[in-house]
Amino acid sequence: MTSTVTLHVFSGLPNPTWQLTPQQDDELSQRLAAADAITSTRPSGVLGGLGYRGFSISRAADHAQGPMTLHVHEGVIDRGFLQPNVTDPVLETWLAGTGANAVHPDVQSFVASRIALKASEPFTHGLAAPAHCPQNHAHDAPPYQPGKWNIPTVQPYNNCYNYANDHITNTFAQPGRAHGKQAQQMACGPVETGAIADGLKPVANFHAPLAAGHGWYVALVIWPNVDYHWYRQDNVGCWSHKPGSTAARNWDNANHPIADPKTCNRGPYTVFCTYMVTTRHVVIR
């Protein structure tokens, strides 16, 4: 019998519960084995409360690795009183993904937004006021799911352009390459031309409503003559990105949440080029 996952979110209804597939169960074991950053923090969800309170994972006595009960919430794996807790910033997002068939899409969106909120919380320290995400007007805007990207089989082979388009190609996709229009110069014009060849459309801002099937907002910035970078607006309204082969994240170079890529800290990518709209029909390589 594989591990059972329970999403703690309801007050009146029974919480959604599902069984991991054998493959997911193996991946869970790998993820738990890799989580070794000890913390003295306990997730608030173990104490109950209203709304999203995390996931519990249980393995029965007949499981190949023996019985186990864990609670995962707020980036912390609570292992009970006999073992220290450890942190894992992406395990909740991964667990949420395993329950796609067991959880109503509205509840999935709600849980994703709560996880994203918590993920950005540490980076609000030092700000004059709590960060507020702008409203998302794109029906298709993807959820912030770093767990989908920050795994060994995906992270090294997909870049900011893959991430902005929410399309894993494992080719380190380049704007325009799929259509023979890859930029030769690292300036706004040539890179934007490549992206347009792939199917993206430049827009003045990210305020116009985009109905279902009409995509979501991304933004192009340039490190003059050196490189380009992309951001995307997630369904919570704040923006996220994936710098090269490093992990996807929803904070900028100053560790702040990203309300607008035009004004966030972008390190050497000093030139803001344009906002664009991408869709599921865009072809990149």
Partner: protein, 110 residues
């Protein structure tokens, strides 16, 4: 099998990172610097953000061995060790082709 080494500047987001291969003498010298006993420390957090994120050294001699050199620390995948006096980083900077050194002079360690 002769040991080969490739050094990547982990610096780009969109384009593939720039990289170059070391000559045989340089490979031997760098391997010797790395094999010198060092103070072991806990692995640092993963390099992140936009801009320079360190040098990734990949040795090939049948097996592949990969290390990240950044900020006086070398992460060898099994933990990390201190790069005393930043000798390994200085060696890499010296071995870097002049055009790369010039192109990234604003973001590379001095």
């Amino acid at each position: 099998v002769e040991k080969k080494a490739r050094i990547e500047i982990d610096v780009f987001s969109g384009r593939p990172n720039p990289a170059w291969d070391l000559g045989p003498e340089q490979v031997r010298a760098l391997a010797q610097l790395i094999q010198t006993p060092h103070e072991r420390i806990a692995a640092p957090p993963a390099a992140d953000g936009l801009g320079f994120r360190g040098f990734v050294v990949t040795f090939h001699n049948g097996d592949v061995e990969r290390l990240r050199v950044m900020g006086g620390i070398v992460d060898d995948g099994h933990g990390a060790f201190r790069d005393a006096d930043r000798r390994i980083e200085a060696f890499i900077l010296t071995a870097m082709p002049a055009d790369l050194r010039q192109q990234f002079s604003d973001v590379l360690p001095h």
